[in-house]
Symmetry: C3
Subunit: 390 residues, 3 copies
């Protein structure tokens, strides 16, 4: 039975994502609504006796706590290493060694790491499932699952929806994962970047090359600020925005002193095209989303956050019960299997200097391998610009 990991949203098929959503709905019902007395004793036993390790090399409150809450609600237990300075890494240990050791202590590992591709490297060495809790600017697949679930639950479906991506489209790992996932489910993407923070060319290239997405003609009634619309060639784009998805303003990345970062507030969403819009944000926010809007029924971000626990419950319970019958049987083929078969010693060094392969590659004396059929790094998915050794 092949081990299953979640290092990228693309480790899951569309059918598997839908199975996760169905199970999450069950858990939402099991946990009950927020009426307190009804909550007591509402955890389930799906993972009783199991232990999760959260290994976080970067600050996080909500991702770590929501994973830990999910494991508690499943009847399992949690061990945690959340202080990078207090870890064996401070003694010079490689991530490969840490993954091997921690997989002797736990039944599933959740990893956050500043380097891209870190989750895949850990998955290569772990003997238990590894879940990517964010690896540099690469992927944050469980955030993408929460986002998709919120849209599907509140809009009924994903196909043909108009989803506006607003703000910093350049640096947000959440936006990149979400764009691919929306493309796989047939939603149209309306790009509303902050000036100088456009979606990277490599992401656009991949939307085109892998998901058959192309720029569509802009309709005359689209809101100001939409610079491009991507969709399937036969998609019909009307002017109503179904989802307005904001990214967090990262002050240190904003160098345009003449202009302010765009803000979403009551005035902006008063335009007719936003009348039925879900307003979403992965949070935390830092000024780009006015709290005065919080009481508006279109404000979906706190509901979006609250789905984090049932979605992660569903994911953990399916990964841990994989192979015991009925769970993630139809998985496309985990990273491990793929990686093993395509690893070759005379590969090319990844051109992304934030890729884990530049650190651990040296330690393990393996140069980076690539998937022969697609010139992208096996760990961080970055396009290989030069491949002198091929």
């Amino acid at each position: 039975m092949a081990l299953r990991h979640l290092t990228s949203i693309n480790d899951l098929t569309n059918e598997e994502i839908e199975r996760i959503f169905l199970l999450a709905e069950d858990f939402l019902e099991d946990l009950g609504d927020r009426d307190l007395p009804a909550r007591i004793g509402r955890s389930v036993d799906a993972c009783a006796g199991a232990v999760m390790a959260t290994v976080f090399y970067e600050p996080s409150t909500r991702t770590r706590l929501s994973f830990e809450s999910a494991m508690c609600r499943l009847g399992g237990k949690v061990i945690s290493s959340a202080d990078p300075a207090a870890s064996s890494t401070a003694k010079g240990e490689t991530l490969a060694d840490t993954a091997r050791i921690v997989s002797a202590y736990a039944d599933v590992i959740v990893l956050r790491h500043p380097l891209e591709g870190a989750a895949r490297l850990a998955a290569q060495y772990s003997t238990v499932p590894v879940i990517n809790g964010g690896d540099g600017a690469h992927e944050h697949p469980t955030q993408a699952l929460c986002d998709l679930f919120t849209i599907q639950r509140e809009k009924g479906a994903l196909q043909n929806l108009n989803v506006a991506l607003f703000g910093d489209l350049k640096n947000s790992r959440t936006i990149h994962s979400l764009a691919y996932a929306l493309a796989r489910f047939g939603a149209n993407l309306l790009l509303m970047p902050a000036p100088g923070m456009e979606l990277p060319g490599s992401v656009e290239h991949r939307l085109h090359g892998e998901f058959d997405y192309a720029p569509l003609n802009l309709g005359g009634n689209l809101p100001d600020g939409v610079t491009k619309v991507y969709g399937l060639n036969d998609a019909v784009v009307n002017s109503a925005i179904d989802v307005l998805y904001l990214t967090r303003f990262q002050k240190e990345r904003w160098t345009d002193t003449k202009r302010h970062y765009p803000v979403v507030n009551r005035e902006l969403v008063a335009a007719p095209c936003f009348r039925q819009s879900l307003v979403m944000h992965a949070l935390p926010r830092a000024g780009e989303l006015d709290p005065a809007f919080d009481s508006d029924p279109r404000a979906a971000y706190f509901r979006q956050a609250s789905y984090g626990v049932p979605i992660r419950m569903a994911l953990i319970s399916l990964l841990l019960n994989h192979g015991a019958g009925g769970s993630l049987e139809r998985f496309v083929g985990g990273f491990r299997a793929t990686a093993r078969s395509t690893l070759h010693k005379s590969g090319t060094l990844c051109s992304n200097f934030n890729c884990i392969s530049h650190v651990e590659g040296r330690v393990h004396r393996e140069r980076l391998a690539i998937k022969p059929e697609r010139p992208r790094c096996l760990y961080c998915d970055h396009e290989i610009l030069q491949s002198p050794g091929e």
Copy 2:
């Protein structure tokens, strides 16, 4: 069913405090004494399936660990964010947003925060009960509950007891909470301040204005160092000290280079008036309480610390079962209800610069509201000195 919080000792009626004490006695019996073999398996199931979040923005070992131990003994589970630097706050998140998000992950939140009134602000936004684990110099209500419980359990009652408050009466949040609580139960307060560390005028004012306490005549046999005695007007103060309550010496606040901070040791408590005194201390201590006294039966501070777990078990289990019948039904009226009805936009800014309202008030674009009938800040209870807008 209104949500119940514990942000101040005054959120609880005397009857509710006594109900907590009764339940804590039950838990003490359930857990057994310290004989180890008998301890195994002695937890209870009152909160099985429930999840507590401890969110600590300030260092703490004993408060956090005793809350977490209490939840474990109740059969519940714990998620924790105890490293301020690793939190979403480092990314600029408001406490209001953190409270909303964490209340989607947990059934009860314990908060420690450096700003006064923080617990009340969190309670305003949380959808689950918030327990104040210490907010700046404002309140530390569960410490006050442990202190009261210790006195009642070891002295049989609280009314008419002579309680001497010793040391730094100026800066200790524990002393302020305890003084109000003792006044509500009719104990006499004998003030024994270190030089320059007298009880603040605002606390004396409130003892007088809200609890009908007045300075009493000093009896001739009172110990040296007693500067004032507060009690109900008809109280009879004899010369026997029932409780000697010490505060921790905070070196950075002691500027009197000519004198030493007063120390409690065997010599001091050899005086006749201390013959039956319980000696109490919230701990940790730092030189003001001689370890040579530890083996004296009057030394109650380690027993006082050990009551932290059963008291917190009782509190958590009553808060979580509130509304399920039989628990905190007769609560005077939580902060939420009160706050909502008295919030008005054109309020007065709090004159306490350590009040949470100066940070979050700006973010939420609401100026501070006050309770019209009593000119005190809604968050930190600080007296409003100037109210230009009224």
Copy 3:
């Protein structure tokens, strides 16, 4: 019933160590192999309802996580204080007070501390069992248990084995604990120190004085780098190395700029004497052990790490059930009992400046006592060089 602690490997008799190993084998079987579906629900209930506190004053990932995983697998719960800066120690609390307080919250305490003898001082004040998770350069007894278990499990026995100790024999607390333990079980010790990092004279002295170990004649076929062989006088040392035990390279302690720290790699272990050698390492490693060797069946270090959980499960469950019948009844006599009877006020100050007695001794106004029959410090086991007061 005397309370049992584990502050030193010498707190356990050989028979007790073997009982721990038998129970660990049971737990290994209970937990099953690493096939995931079979793992779910495989925890046991030996410590259901019990709470463990991990109190770590120094960075650690693997020791803390393996203890916490062990407690989870036993059905118990964990509270943790792993950030020294966030602890009451930052407020000036003594370890004695911390031990007393935490023992009111938990049923067993695991302590890591930078000062030697810290675990013994904590055990003196705790009302629950204290387990030493590493105290300065003094001892790390649970690591020694894991090491011994690995050797016995994979080699069938300990007596008469040839165990080569390789690398930094001077500064490693693990090596010191392991050397005594191996001597107690009759293994021969082959010293292969890095230049300038020989085994301390005091350890050699103790091997001789307490365990009747003497330097043996070196056989002609021993590998290069063996400087001494210790064994029982009648031991027969052949040239086959049964175990090659490496220590971590600590860069800051290596001052020999002319030479490199010795490295274990495929070339080194190709020598005939290493043909059947288990290669062991407590990990983390930092360059002294080539990852290219990882796939060799003689590489035992990841299996060694994975035994950490069942060994600690066995230890915790025996300590917590001690006195309930059938557990550690035949214990030689815990530290507490011994210590109490030999403490005398007019003792000698320990000459080891990393000993806890130099900090806490002053606070408690007791000068260091020594065991009269053996001039070693009661806390850190360091030899007393001068004893002017005797």
